[in-house]
Symmetry: C2
């Protein structure tokens, strides 16, 4: 599998992308394609005294983190994000990953790759660590306003992704709402509830915000507004709580000593919650395998994302999602 | 101030309500009125060898936690929730608190007290502990579907509540959205953003889910769907994280010993996050001071809620909110 990586993407580009790519390239069957400004890439490779040779695709332009998504994609046709998407479109890469501008990744994917037939709105799936493994929250922020049919499609796409990624059979799906009872929800989710109920998915019913970190279901379906709010509320709470604990356990010499003894335990907790361990978020519903990374991604995150992208490409995720959505359409007609 | 408490409300009724009431009654100027089944109340008071005398208002019926809100309020007219609201309506109590069925509290407040003029939708304000103090999230779940004007009113009511409760001058207000930029949001919040901008409030702009636990603003305005999702996502994350830490730091004898030394530090953290420390949530926009408690409220939570209710009643919260909302209407016309 040939996996393209945007060397220019994210807050710590180009270093972490090159480090992550070199790391991932050790995996059997993984061929990494480096996309970005050639001189910068060669400099990074040189600094690492790399003996292995990599394919480099020169992309002279860079879409910055705060560039306007749609505008930058239209104007910067030779940016690493647009060039990377074209590699997938032309079959010169099996997947593309970037830790760069999320909105620009979405816009470029829609413009260059287009949507899978039957998918009205592609969505971002965010993998949340839970005590039971991982839960996919879809949509994590691409679509602030949705129709009930969009939520159904998010469920179909998310379930197929998790089924392939975990290899554990049909994924359980919950609909994010303001209460567990079937009668709870806003107008859109109440309609979506009925659609999901009839979808043939393993539908658990409504789930609440607390069910996301708990791992009650494999897939939590939400509009991109509530999904994004939940995602960031969880991140913020974890940050607030760990800061508070750090502050308390390092008060005074006695505490500091005890905290030192517990350092491996605290590290184990931090590792379980580290978003870098998860790597990237699949962009589902476009005609290509695309993963998006957090702007703060480190080399571990990049390597993990490239690995997940390789796996999804090897399982022909795009065809599988097309069939999952089409299967539903057949049932409807 | 005469503050009525629903002795029958919540998962640990009647004990915690009586304990909390006895505790609160020690405050100067606090007169607690116990509402519920008289024999149960007298039994609880007897068991505590209480010398102080309390006013008891007999309410033979009980609305259970899983009763249908609107139906139970209509059918159980002699329930403690409905009787408590009538005490406020008739001026026989200055405020009412219950840890019982939240939906029934909402329905009873609307039916018995009615809305403040200019308020289309009363809302529940939930106080979130932050490193900077407390942030009011409004609406925490009463209104799943809203119009932009409702969000504006939530902002006006929430800001007035926090201004009075903290005594720190005008409260800063943020609008919960899927990004900080003004252009982020769904159709409803984009319109509400413009209304809040012109409202005369100290409007910070959009805030994200992570800003709630961070305490970026005093008041976070949200529809009851996203607000509830955020609230429960935060609760669930705190629970998941504390469980994970407990599991890790108690692995092996050496860890257990160190964790024992840190117990005061962990307790300090738990205390800062304990919802019982906060007590209750104000129901804003109805013609009376009403506080709602979590079903799992303990005696501390009940005492804290009664204390907050007394304070709000003493500040004439209802008139203040009426003026805040009307002031806005004057500006509009």
């Amino acid at each position: 599998m040939r996996i393209a990586v945007d060397v220019m993407g994210g807050d710590h580009a180009p270093q972490v992308n090159v480090d992550g790519a070199l790391n991932a390239a050790r995996q059997p069957g993984m061929e990494v394609v480096l996309v970005g400004q050639e001189d910068a890439i060669r400099r990074e490779l040189g600094a690492r005294k790399q003996t292995r040779s990599f394919e480099i695709i020169h992309a002279p332009e860079v879409i910055e983190m705060d560039d306007h998504p749609a505008t930058s994609v239209r104007r910067k046709k030779e940016s690493s994000i647009v060039v990377g998407m074209r590699l997938v479109k032309d079959g010169r890469a099996d997947a593309f990953f970037s830790a760069g501008n999320t909105g620009a990744m979405m816009a470029a994917a829609l413009l260059v790759l287009g949507r899978i037939s039957g998918v009205d709105r592609p969505a971002i799936g965010s993998l949340i660590p839970t005590p039971r493994g991982r839960t996919l929250l879809i949509d994590a922020g691409a679509n602030a306003d949705v129709r009930p049919e969009n939520l159904l499609q998010f469920g179909l796409m998310g379930a197929k992704y998790m089924e392939l990624a975990t290899g554990k059979g049909p994924a359980s799906v919950g609909l994010l709402s303001n209460g567990e009872e079937d009668t709870k929800g806003n107008a859109i989710t109440l309609e979506a509830h009925a659609l999901l109920r009839e979808s043939g998915l393993s539908f658990h019913g409504n789930v609440e915000g607390r069910d996301i970190p708990k791992g009650t279901v494999d897939v939590v379906v939400a509009d991109g507004f509530a999904g994004n709010v939940a995602l960031k509320a969880m991140e913020g709470t974890a940050r607030m709580l760990t800061d508070l604990i750090r502050e308390q356990v390092t008060r005074g010499a006695r505490n500091k000593l005890a905290a030192l003894a517990l350092r491996p335990a605290f590290r184990a907790v931090a590792r379980k919650l580290d978003p870098n361990e998860i790597g990237g978020s699949p962009l589902l519903g476009v005609r290509g395998v695309v993963f998006i990374g957090h702007g703060s991604s480190n080399a571990l995150a990049v390597a993990r994302a490239l690995s997940a992208a390789k796996e999804a490409a090897g399982q022909d995720l795009v065809t599988a999602i097309g069939q999952a959505v089409a299967g539903r359409e057949d049932k409807r007609s």
